[in-house]
């Protein structure tokens, strides 16, 4: 099962290498990894999606915790979170298809950010399901290229 780990780390050079080295060395499977500075510039946040059974996830969490530069590991998989991914797709679009794609993308609240002679570039954000749905809806037109950013995740505030 996929787990999403929110990992706070010291914002030093080499920390990413330590974390990715740990995963490689111990044979853990990273599905997605995003690193960025937090509101405190001395601390970075990694959102790591990792695939494995409970025992592997337990080991991943504990081994991450042993790294000196790791401040906190939080498994947010079962928490109420907002998850977002960014998608860019360049899709085949002759003039007749452009209108149809534009309408489709409206439904998903995705945007067309570039128009070529025979193609469009679509930008979308959403959770993984929505991103997959957008990709599926564009497949019949012929997808030229897909770029996705890793998943970022935030725990919702108390209601």
């Amino acid at each position: 099962m996929k787990h999403t780990l929110a990992v706070l780390v010291e914002n030093h050079p080499g920390v990413l290498s330590r974390v990715s080295g740990l995963f490689a060395r111990r044979g853990y499977n990273i599905t997605s990894l995003v690193v960025s500075e937090t509101e405190d510039s001395s601390i970075s946040r990694m959102t790591i999606v990792v695939d494995g059974d409970e025992r592997i996830i337990e080991q991943v969490t504990k081994q991450l915790n042993k790294l000196i530069d790791v401040i906190k590991v939080n498994d947010v998989t079962n928490e109420d979170t907002v998850n977002r991914q960014l998608l860019l797709v360049r899709v085949n679009a002759d003039n007749s298809a452009k209108g149809e794609i534009a309408q489709l993308m409206d439904i998903f609240r995705a945007r067309i950010v570039d128009i070529g002679r025979k193609s469009l570039v679509v930008e979308a954000t959403g959770d993984e399901e929505k991103i997959q749905a957008i990709i599926r809806s564009l497949q019949p037109f012929g997808i030229q290229e897909i770029v996705k950013a890793g998943i970022i995740s935030m725990v919702r505030g108390p209601k």
Binding site: G21, R55, Q59, K62, Q63, K66, D69, K72
Partner: protein
């Protein structure tokens, strides 16, 4: 003050009295000011020797051992030593010079990415970019190396940082989240209570102790009291040697691949296993799915990542073994009667000795060495057959007195580690049990023994081969002795003589006792070349990947593996 002076001052503040190392281009500014400090420098002949010597010092004292090396090859030569320390949780501090800051990342002369290289083999590592950070980093490095589960830390310092003029001394202290992360874990008393109930219910309890008990001051005593009061049999890993008195009837010896028959039988048949300060290494468990199959496992370790890593436990307790044993000792009482269980264990036959060939019998040699140990003797070993024979038959009397490379199995560890041990405790007897394969891996350090006149006794178990590999070839590779016979070895008397170290060669059993006795009682270094039977193997043995039930008692007499289960 210069960065280099600040570094030495910071080390002094951490109580460092001696370091092992070798100078080189990038550390000239450090060595340039060495004389101004109170720190004694031991010049080894190879950086690997420096790392192992620092490790030996650390293992025997429990205090961090420090080594210096230059950039590039100096640093890479430390890596085996750091990996050795990491696997056995030893607090080594390595300080490497680095090329000047402006040369970093340009494949400069003698540049190696020490930070990157050190990641998988250290607990943590630093690259110092500003000399003002040195006191903070040194303080933190020592804290990290010694707190919780100990381990090696590397500090990489560019040449210009050593020469940098420091205007103000900053003392930021250890980062706050580290104080929290590495603080001694508090025992979960609910879990401890569960462990007590399980132990009370057990009809066939067994205690397994490892390096974690050796590492925790005061723990061995508590463990002994507990086991003796409750009549529970005790077995140990290689790293747990010295925790429990070997001559005590409850002591079963080592468990695992070369464990004793009693220990392995007890492991496979116990109904409750109290495992303290161990990590269930594959050399201990054999086939892990079939390890201690009937046991409820109570696993106590200071490193939570060890729980459920190799062997799932029923009751996992995170904590220092001393804290745990203190609570346990107070709560369990001696109402147990394990006599029937102890009787069953005692029925397991010891290994029958198979005398097969020419040369001295290694077991006899080991028993003789064992009889010559006094209460304070520290035994250091290298890696291979002699190491396992020593583990089975040589029993130092105190904790932290059997110094060996367990996890990484580093041949060449012994000689430099023995130097570290003797430098730490000049008054103690230090016995190095080594092999002719291992000793030739860091032979150059004989010069250090002579230079400092360290009265180390080198007992060379010489079988003219890379014996453990040769044994595997005999047993599992149809006697195809590919490259394991050391056809040309040195004349050891002459070789030791070249360093002005006294030496003697022994072929006959009748000379053995007098020679070993007179060397061990002399105040000088000695190398005794003991020609043992080249065909002798270490038994018992559980082949790799087999369960502890599938144990060979011997070989020549048995056509096939026989199960004792």
């Amino acid at each position: 003050m210069l960065g280099a002076e600040l570094l030495l001052k910071s080390l002094e503040e951490q109580g460092v009295e001696l370091v092992f190392g070798i100078p080189g281009g990038a550390v000239i500014p450090l060595y340039d000011v060495l004389k101004k400090s109170s720190i004694k420098h031991i010049l080894t002949k190879h950086e690997q020797g420096a790392a192992h010597a620092a490790d030996g010092y650390a293992r025997v004292t429990g205090k961090p051992g420090v080594c210096f090396a230059t950039s590039g090859p100096g640093g890479t030569n430390l890596i085996t030593g750091l990996a050795t320390a990491q696997m056995d949780s030893s607090p080594v501090i390595a300080i490497t010079g680095q090329v000047g800051s402006s040369f970093l990342g340009k494949d400069s002369f003698q540049e190696a990415d020490m930070l990157g290289l050190s990641h998988p083999v250290t607990k943590h590592s630093y690259l110092v970019r500003d000399a003002h950070d040195i006191p903070g980093i040194v303080e933190e490095a020592f804290f990290i190396a010694t707190q919780g589960r100990p381990g090696p830390v590397l500090i990489d310092i560019p040449k210009d940082v050593f020469s940098q003029e420091v205007t103000e001394v900053r003392k930021p202290g250890v980062r706050k989240h580290l104080l929290e992360k590495l603080k001694k874990p508090e025992l979960d008393l609910g879990q401890v209570e569960k462990a007590i109930q399980a132990l009370k219910k057990a009809k066939k309890p067994l205690i397994l102790v490892g390096g974690g008990v050796n590492n925790s001051e005061g723990s061995p005593r508590l463990l002994q009291d507990f086991a003796m009061k409750n009549e529970m049999p005790v077995t140990q890993t290689l790293m747990g040697k010295g925790v429990f008195p070997a001559e005590h009837p409850l002591f079963l010896g080592m468990v695992g691949m070369h464990g004793t028959i009693e220990a392995n039988w007890a492991m496979q048949n116990c109904d409750c296993l109290l495992a303290v300060g161990v990590r269930f290494d594959d050399r201990v468990t054999g086939k892990v799915e079939q390890f201690a199959p009937k046991a409820k496992v109570i696993h106590v370790d200071i490193d939570p990542a060890e729980h459920n890593k190799n062997r799932a436990s029923d009751i996992a307790i995170v904590g220092d073994s001393k804290d745990f044993l203190e609570v346990l000792g107070g709560k369990l009482w001696a109402s147990k009667n394990n006599k029937e269980w102890l009787r069953q264990i005692s029925l397991q036959n010891p290994v029958e000795k198979v005398s097969i060939g020419r040369g001295l019998d290694p077991e006899g040699v080991m028993n003789l060495i064992n009889s010559l140990l006094d209460d304070d003797t520290v035994v250091v070993t290298d890696v291979g057959q002699h190491q396992m024979w020593a583990a089975l038959f040589v029993h130092p009397k105190k904790p932290r007195s059997f110094i060996t490379s367990g996890g990484l199995g580093t041949m060449g560890f012994g000689l430099p580690a023995a130097i570290g041990v003797q430098m730490a405790y000049p008054e103690k007897k230090v016995v190095l049990i080594t092999g002719d394969g291992s000793l030739q891996m860091n032979l150059q350090e004989l010069a250090v023994i002579k230079q400092w006149n360290l009265p180390i006794k080198i007992f060379l178990i010489n079988n003219g081969s890379l014996g453990m590999v040769r044994q595997w070839q005999e047993l599992f590779f149809q006697e195809n002795y590919a490259e394991t016979i050391l056809e040309v070895g040195p004349d050891w008397e002459k070789l030791a003589g070249a360093y002005n170290i006294k030496a003697k060669t022994l072929w006959e059993h009748r000379e053995l006792k007098d020679a070993l006795h007179s060397s061990i009682t002399s105040g000088e270094p000695w190398l005794i070349d003991i020609k043992v039977d080249p065909g002798a193997n270490v038994f018992p043995m559980v082949p790799a990947g087999c369960s502890l039930d599938q144990m060979y008692r011997s070989w020549k007499n048995e056509a096939h593996a026989s199960s004792i289960g």
